[in-house]
């Protein structure tokens, strides 16, 4: 059976990218613990509007934990206290009556604040544009069953491909590094036979672009703890191995084992 919570929210409010920001203390009373965290914010926003105040801006969309639009540092944790869960799938039953909840945007220089809790994550798109694809233009594909892919390989590529691009890894990292995000895409494609032709040029271009925006990885492992899809930092090791190889492999002889 559901119970009601009375909460105190401390929410980061910031009018625009260059405006100064500060915490707003907002009472959230009579919150049903069956609600999701974002439904709680919806209610808070409805109350703000009815008081004539501006609603809190936050990114969200599918509310099924798959689009990666939602973010939020909740009491200092990216996506809040539940492991393997994006903010939109977090429910209020994980909080207790009388609790103070601090809500902040992702904190990273590469993710400038747009307004309130919304940030700009387009640096991720730049990394993918640099090489996060297999060049396979529409029309010329072979029959899909022509290249058998061992199940463990396909599974492992899928584990990496599960990344939703939310940016929690960057927000959780003390260095604001994007190595988990980048390595997930590199590994998804570099593990597959279809991705071999561009394996070394891909990793080089993606890592170099990543370094234009983000800090360096020092193996803290905070990223995998925060990741709502629980992507493993093993992929960072795979990426580093390929990146290193990209620096000395003679690509003219790649087809020779």
């Amino acid at each position: 059976m559901s119970t009601e919570l009375n909460l105190t929210l401390k929410v980061w409010r910031q009018a625009g990218p260059d405006a100064p920001g500060s915490f707003d203390t907002i009472k959230a009373e009579g919150i049903n613990d069956e609600m999701s965290f974002l439904e709680m914010l919806d209610i808070v926003n409805e109350r703000l509007i009815s008081d004539g105040k501006e609603a809190i801006v936050f990114d969200h969309d599918c509310r099924e934990g798959i689009c990666g639009t939602c973010s939020l540092m909740i009491n200092g944790q990216a996506h809040g206290p539940q492991k393997g869960t994006a903010t939109c799938q977090l429910h209020m039953r994980k909080f207790h009556d009388g609790q103070e909840i601090v809500i902040e945007p992702w904190r990273a220089t590469a993710f400038p604040i747009v307004k309130d809790l919304m940030v700009d994550r387009s640096a991720f798109d730049r990394i993918v544009e640099a090489g996060g694809f297999i060049t396979a233009e529409t029309g010329g594909a072979n029959d899909a069953n022509l290249i058998p892919i061992p199940k463990p390989v396909a599974d492992s590529a899928m584990d990496a491909a599960a990344c939703i691009g939310c940016g929690a890894c960057v927000a959780a990292c003390p260095n604001s590094a994007a190595n988990l995000f980048t390595s997930a895409k590199v590994s998804h494609l570099n593990l597959l036979p279809q991705g071999q032709a561009e394996r070394y040029s891909r990793v080089e271009a993606m890592v170099d672009t990543m370094e234009d925006f983000f800090g360096s990885c020092t193996n803290h492992g905070e990223c995998q703890e925060a990741c709502p899809k629980e992507i493993s930092i093993d992929f960072i090791a795979l990426m580093n191995k390929d990146y290193l190889a990209s620096k000395f492999k003679n690509r003219r002889f790649l087809s020779r084992k």
């Binding site: 559901s2 009018a15 049903n32 069956e34 609600m35 439904e39 919806d42 209610i43 926003n45 409805e46 703000l48 509007i49 009815s50 004539g52 105040k53 501006e54 609603a55 969309d61 599918c62 509310r63 099924e64 934990g65 798959i66 689009c67 639009t69 539940q82 869960t85 799938q89 429910h91 039953r93 307004k115 700009d120 994550r121 387009s122 991720f124 798109d125 544009e129 640099a130 996060g132 694809f133 297999i134 060049t135 396979a136 233009e137 529409t138 010329g140 594909a141 899909a144 069953n145 058998p148 892919i149 061992p150 199940k151 396909a154 899928m158 491909a161 599960a162 998804h188 597959l192 279809q194």
Partner: protein, 638 residues
């Protein structure tokens, strides 16, 4: 208004091939002389933008998301159909075509559906080449599962995240084109009007969601791939930001809107738990491969599921439809659940669900196999409900999910406005009155990768040497001014109720009167209530904040304003269609057994509505449907 479907001559199996040969081409060196606008970057829009970019056109792609990777295609779980016949169980292009026409309750255009089935096999090849990690068997070949409305195994999948993986495939191809400079991306930018000059699409007016700035873009052709309108119901499985605005604004500028009453209520969603709920969560149809649906035989049975013995359970789908059983098509399964719940046999605290039970499958296959197949779905269910489907049956109930209706398009995917195209869920063309599971991904990608990039040259070729209409043309200026005053107007009302409050109320009317079961009386009532509520919206809306920075309340206001007008078209269409077919069930038209009763004599046609300036009085036009290959028959899944 003339509805010329432009279906090519010849036998069904040759139409698409003949068309591709007969169409006009633009030679590769001339393609860079054309500008094309693509609105929406999901499967249909992203695939079209990427492919047109690859071909050499100048493409401008627009999305209201921060990145194309967020489009709602990403949420599709179960899979994508393709007539590969890798299982050797008798599948073929013709069978997929047949199943889809029948599944759509004989209200789709045969030629379009056949083309879809033909392209389905290319999609799997294309996606695999891009690195989409489809599920594989131990031998390394692709695995398949079964979906509703089919008796063969033709659904390809990537765990429970097929939509995500296909969308990321599209996104990566699009990102490559953006990196190469062939596609310019405008993110966090929302379409607010379509501009037509001399009867042809000239461009669009957009609003920058970060600055509120209104701007025009012109091109030789405009493609709308802006998804469906299930959010008119307020509660649906759609993402929060899905809306009808792009399609509706195109409609107001002359594009006919076809079959708005064909909406799909998906049978397996998590039941609503309370009033505050913001959206409903879908549980993939693939679960019906191994889950058995049942309700207690007696409405007074309040025992927990595991204490209800077999004898007191009613596996009603298996009982009513023995040959398809739990894999009956969506419309049939949804209505059957409605019947059980309205008899008072619903389960759960609000008695608003039925059971989807995996205990037999777990006993037969072991928990590990079930986890491998549906692990992430079970986790999602548990996160939301705090119950583990490994231990207690899931509770499910139908929820608005997909809209088969949409902008009317001809065989080339062109709307009634020349140069304006609609692809994916935004158009009406392939699913008739009911979409089969795992067919939305198929249609979005077929349109985006293979159909539109082949048909658009037929319109563009004669325009060689022309330049797009400049955006200082009076039509653009007038559209910009109207858009600005529309958004300033929402801010100026200064009433008492938020956009969400109105949306909630509109959704309630729609779900009650134009949901799973519709009646003449209810629809007439809705048609009286909606304009009244819309008038209140115009007088009593409250939008706080301003129009010069990100304002999600203001964004919502614009979208809901358009939902009000669409809602009237839906009810009017449902009222006029005096038959039951697919997702459109009129209580007056049913057999003694409660099955949908079609009226082929009077309604074997597409209803396309023309905007007249009055949302309550659009003009109805019809495109007759002929069935030369799949013979009209009572759809039976018994």
């Amino acid at each position: 208004m003339e509805l010329n479907s432009k279906i090519p001559e010849g036998p069904i199996a040759d139409k698409w091939t003949n068309y591709k040969f007969d169409r006009k081409l633009v030679n590769p060196a001339n393609r860079r002389k054309y500008d094309i606008i693509v609105v929406g970057t999901g499967l249909a829009g992203g695939a079209a933008a990427a492919t047109l970019g690859e071909q050499g056109y100048n493409v401008k792609a627009f999305t209201f998301h921060d990145s194309p990777r967020r489009a709602h295609s990403i949420a599709a779980q179960g899979g994508i159909n393709a007539a590969k016949n890798y299982k050797g169980d008798g599948d073929s292009i013709y069978r997929l075509f047949y199943d889809t026409v029948k599944g759509g309750d004989f209200r789709a255009r045969e030629a379009n559906v056949y083309r879809l089935a033909e392209e389905s096999v290319n999609i799997i090849d294309q996606a695999t080449a891009q690195g989409v990690p489809f599920a594989r068997e131990y031998g390394g070949l692709l695995d398949n599962r079964s979906f509703g409305g089919a008796q063969v195994s033709r659904t390809f999948y990537a765990r429970g995240q097929t939509g995500q993986q296909l969308l990321l495939g599209v996104y990566q191809q699009l990102a490559r084109q953006i990196g190469l400079g062939n596609v310019s991306l405008y993110n966090r930018t929302e379409l607010i009007d379509v501009v037509v000059v001399d009867g042809e699409a000239a461009g669009i007016v957009v609003r920058d969601l970060l600055t509120g700035q209104v701007q025009s873009h012109s091109a030789h052709a405009v493609v709308l791939a802006t998804g469906g309108y299930s959010n008119v119901f307020f509660l649906s499985t759609n993402a929060m930001n899905c809306n009808v605005t792009a399609a509706w604004r195109a409609h107001r500028r002359g594009a006919a809107f076809a079959n708005p009453c064909y909406t799909q209520i998906h049978p397996t969603c998590i039941p609503q738990s309370d009033e505050f709920q913001s959206k409903l969560t879908l549980m993939s149809e693939s679960l019906r491969n191994d889950g058995r649906i049942w309700a207690p035989k007696s409405p007074d049975d309040n025992r927990p599921a595991d204490q209800i013995p077999e004898a007191d359970r009613d596996y009603y789908l298996e009982r009513r439809y023995p040959s398809f059983g739990n894999l009956a098509p969506r419309d049939v399964a949804s209505r059957a659940a409605l019947v059980e719940v309205s008899k008072g046999k619903g389960v759960g605290p609000l008695k608003n669900g039925v059971y989807l039970d995996f205990s037999d499958a777990i006993n037969r296959l072991g928990e590990h196999t079930i986890e491998e197949r549906y692990g992430n779905l079970f986790e999602m269910y548990e996160r939301i409900t705090d119950e583990s489907p490994y231990k207690v049956p899931m509770r499910i109930y139908p929820a608005p999910h997909y809209t088969m209706g949409g902008l009317w398009v001809d065989y080339e995917l062109m709307t009634t406005v020349p140069g304006l195209y609609a692809t994916g869920e935004a158009n009406f063309s392939d699913h008739g009155a009911n979409r089969l599971g795992a067919s939305a991904l198929m249609q979005g990608l077929a349109d985006g990768y293979f159909v539109l990039p082949n048909t658009i040259s037929n319109y563009l070729a004669p325009k060689l040497g022309s330049t797009p209409i400049p955006t200082d043309h009076p039509e653009f200026q007038a559209a910009e001014a109207a858009a600005k005053s529309r958004f300033d107007g929402y801010l100026a009302i200064g009433g008492t109720r938020s956009p969400d409050a109105f949306h909630h109320e509109l959704g309630k009317i729609m779900l009650e009167q134009c949901g799973m079961e519709r009646t003449k009386e209810g629809l007439t009532q809705a048609l009286a209530d909606i304009p009244v509520l819309h008038e209140e919206f115009k007088k009593d809306l409250r939008v706080t904040g301003d129009g010069e920075s990100t304002n999600q309340t203001l964004e919502k206001a614009g979208r809901i304003d358009d939902f009000f007008e669409l809602a009237q078209a839906m009810c009017l269409d449902a009222l006029t269609r005096e038959e039951s077919c697919g997702g459109h069930f009129r209580a007056e038209h049913q057999t003694d057994e409660g099955e949908a009763e079609r009226d082929d004599e009077h309604f074997a046609h597409v209803a396309a509505w023309e905007w007249t300036g009055d949302a309550g009085k659009p003009n109805r036009h019809t495109e007759p449907l002929t069935f030369d290959n799949v013979h009209l028959a009572v759809r039976s899944y018994k």
